[in-house]
């Protein structure tokens, strides 16, 4: 089985969110970058688990971005994966990014393409579904479990108020979320090995951008908390009913 795992670089979950250039750019100074948690914890680790079961499995990682992304790609390679491809493209539009990955995927002949359910910065959860539509592949979104048996995939996805079990033939694209795999940390062997694994850089194709970011905005600050004495919780219930009118 040949697997392609899409890896995105995001600010650390504790990074301060602020904007510069008249609120048009994310203030990246001093920000720690990580592998998007959904890509790492669920998509990549599930692929690694498949390879542990069947060592003939080949895992490629793909990232869309500039050379500054290389350390994060090496971190991903330390967790697993045989080689990585970085598409040297700096766009933010989901369709453009998906088109770049689809170009690579088309040539690679992958049986399975895994993505995280969304990135924790732009939260667009679009890439998997878009690649599927571009390449006319089957797509299962927001899966919490995935098993492969021969060329049949069984996935469980979360739906409102429950779960749904789906079956599909490979090739297939799955976006992954919690439940898919157990989080791990890279070991020394992985970290050493990652240094010499191939990281191929390919130049981007000419693609359309459907959207652009005009500006950012911070949410309004909260007015401040109204504290209610611990010996009078009934007052809280009264305020929620009469003042906030939410119960």
């Amino acid at each position: 089985m040949k697997i392609l795992v899409c890896i995105s670089k995001t600010p650390d979950t504790t990074a301060k969110i602020a904007f510069t250039d008249n609120n048009t750019k994310f203030a990246a100074d001093g920000v720690q970058w990580i592998i998007n948690p959904y890509d790492e914890w669920y998509a990549l680790i599930r692929a690694v688990e498949f390879k542990e079961k069947d060592p003939s499995t080949i895992i490629h990682l793909v990232n869309v971005g500039l050379a500054e992304n290389d350390p994060v790609i090496r971190k991903a390679l330390a967790l697993g994966g045989d080689e990585a491809i970085r598409i040297n493209y700096d766009g933010k539009d989901p369709f453009a990014v998906a088109s770049q990955i689809a170009n690579i995927a088309k040539e690679g002949g992958y049986d399975l393409i895994l993505t995280g359910k969304e990135t924790i910065d732009y939260n667009s959860s679009s890439i998997g579904g878009m690649i599927a539509a571009i390449l006319d592949m089957a797509f299962i979104s927001h899966a919490i479990k995935l098993d492969i048996n021969g060329n049949i995939a069984t996935a469980v996805r979360e739906i409102e108020g429950g779960e749904e079990t789906d079956e599909a033939l490979l090739p297939l694209i799955v976006s992954c979320q919690k439940g898919m795999a157990e989080q791990r940390i890279p070991n020394m062997k992985g970290i050493m090995g990652a240094r010499t694994k191939p990281l191929k850089v390919v130049e981007p194709a000419a693609v359309d951008e459907y959207t652009s970011i005009a500006s950012f905005e911070m949410p309004p600050a909260k007015a401040g908390v109204k504290l209610i004495p611990a010996d009078n919780p009934a007052e809280l219930v009264r305020l929620l009913h009469e003042e906030a009118r939410v119960i």
Binding site: P94, G128, I159, P219
Partner: protein, 319 residues
């Protein structure tokens, strides 16, 4: 024309569908046009009632081959109708169906997509949609530069209003092509309110000490008609099921009322809940960071405070 996708499950219209209908209708007004809906799958509900929410007409796709969600089939049906009625904006809810369908629809229709919209577009300079980014820590204004546009609306971000109008209902037969996905089974937790649709959420953290104390959370939730949620360690420890985990790496929610019990308010937790309209925090530590994000708070011990809150709610409800 604005086309709204009306989502249902087991014949029941999802709550978010009324919200997207109202949003679509308001958007149509902005664009001096009309809004129609498409519903895929059988339902016994009276679809003309979507007139109440501003839709002029509802197209109903009843073909049994659509009974389960296969994204590419839904994409074919929705884009087919959109073309037929010349819809140039399509609105879906950013729920589990919307997430599966919207990206492919964007490709199929060569239409720019904004996922997680929280307000009507600004038309003063092109077509720009405000959306939630950085897991609720900020917003971005995204400009859609294509002729056709797709908006996937975050749940609980647009007010539902009703009139007495009725919508015309028309059967529409769509060709979804050959299925690629087979749904083998669905398991629903009976009687539980889906977290993403709930207007009130009662959530517990490690401060509850153990799963044996969750009665304090579930009883209050039950009284308020609320869904239950939890912090990440609580799900990781197996005290509560994973689908209740909210936050940056769990579900992001925006209920009208979020009651956080024994949760410290770590930045990753806040990311998933800070779009809630009213936040109540109950924590014994006055320095707990959650108080900074809260509207109401009680500094006190859960095991003393919660039973009193439950009693007061019972009083309020006349129980």
């Amino acid at each position: 024309m604005v086309l709204v996708y009306i989502d249902q499950a087991d014949g029941q219209i999802k709550k978010s569908s009324f919200e997207v209908a109202c949003y679509g209708a308001a958007l149509a007004q902005q664009l001096s046009t009309e809004a129609c809906g498409i519903i895929i799958g059988n339902t016994s509900e009276d679809l003309s009632n979507f007139g109440n929410y501003g839709l002029k007409k509802v197209y109903s796709v009843k073909d049994a081959s659509f009974n389960n969600l296969d994204p590419q089939m839904y994409i074919a049906a929705i884009s087919g109708l959109a073309e037929k009625i010349s819809a140039n904006v399509i609105v879906l809810s950013n729920n589990t169906t919307g997430k599966a369908v919207a990206p492919g629809l964007s490709v199929k229709m060569k239409a720019g997509l904004v996922v997680g919209a929280v307000a009507l577009p600004d038309l003063s300079n092109g077509f720009s949609v405000k959306k939630s980014v950085f897991s609720g820590k900020a917003f971005a204004h995204i400009k859609i530069n294509t002729e056709t546009k797709i908006i996937s609306l975050n749940q609980n971000s647009y007010a539902v209003t009703k009139t007495d109008a009725k919508a015309e209902v028309e059967d529409y037969s769509a060709n979804g092509g050959t299925p690629k996905i087979k749904v083998v089974k669905t398991d629903k937790v009976k009687g539980e309110i889906p977290l993403s649709e709930a207007s009130i959420v009662v959530s517990g953290g490690r401060g509850l000490k153990g799963p044996e104390n969750w009665g304090l959370i579930t009883e209050l939730a039950h009284l308020l008609g609320a869904a239950t949620a939890c912090s990440r360690p609580v799900a990781d420890l197996g005290w509560r099921p994973h689908h209740e985990h909210v936050g940056q790496t769990g579900l992001a929610i925006a209920p009208n009322l979020y009651i956080a019990v024994g949760i410290s308010g770590a930045i990753q937790h806040l990311a998933g809940v800070n779009r809630s309209k009213v936040i109540v925090v109950i924590n014994k530590d006055p320095e707990a960071p959650f108080f900074k994000a809260a509207d109401y708070g009680i500094v006190g011990d859960i095991f003393e405070v919660m039973p009193k809150i439950i009693d007061a709610v019972k009083n309020l409800k006349g129980l």
